[in-house]
Symmetry: C2
Subunit: 113 residues, 2 copies
DNA sequence: TAAATATACTATGCGTCATACACTATTGTC
DNA sequence: GACAATAGTGTATGACGCATAGTATATTTA
């Protein structure tokens, strides 16, 4: 990997940053376990490592946006995560702010200011 | 400021992160000095502190995406920054990736997966 | 039986933003 | 003439985040 593409990859990482939370919150309106979240995001073209996701889930739960519980009734134990009311509220606010930002940026990309 | 809005502000900060670079690069297709960048971003609804912008400009220059020079012919010295060829290339790539990401996220926000 | 997939998780380093801080020149107002 | 507001550039540091690398096991498939 040459310098330019390394730099590009780094900038893309930074773009992904922050939006990751929004993506995860959006998917967590329905209960999901970690592995299904990784697959779900991947299927939407958003790649994330498990080692990145789990600490994020811990943090979101600590911040009181989601709840989690183990399901041990299936072939294998899975820990399910889902938004609670607070999380749903934040998701709505964040989505609105996201759209506002994307529109502003789109204008700048197109016109240059 | 209560807990919820503090949390929300924090998440918005994270959203802004990364997109800041894209915004700055977009505006720097035309030469700008620091203060004009802050005003320009502000007029698009993207707020940024000068203390955040200048280190970012240093970094982008160090990464070889932009050039800068002092203009001392005006009433007051100003340092102008502008994208170079490498920066323009990166901006084009990054814009494309940005649009791809926003579309993916929009789908997730709307459908939940 | 071997390999691939499914599944969960932690620790730590590196990089980035935000805040606080420091400084000067010009313009406008009373 | 004095004072405030605006214009303008920058640095240092702390808090916090992702990414990488690593660990571990169960189930399915070949």
């Amino acid at each position: 990997m040459d310098h330019d593409s390394a730099l590009f990859e780094n900038l893309v990482s930074e773009l992904r940053r922050g939006t990751l939370i929004l993506s995860v919150l959006a998917l967590l309106r329905e209960p999901q376990y970690g592995y299904s979240l990784v697959s779900g995001l991947e299927s939407h073209g958003i790649s994330i490592e498990a080692g990145t996701l789990y600490p994020l889930l811990r943090r979101l739960e600590k911040q009181g946006l989601l709840d989690s519980e183990w399901d041990v009734d299936q072939s294998r134990p899975r820990r399910y995560y889902v938004l609670n009311d607070s999380g749903k509220k934040i998701l709505a606010l964040l989505s609105a702010e996201w759209r506002r930002m994307t529109q502003a940026i789109e204008v700048m990309i197109q016109t240059g200011g």
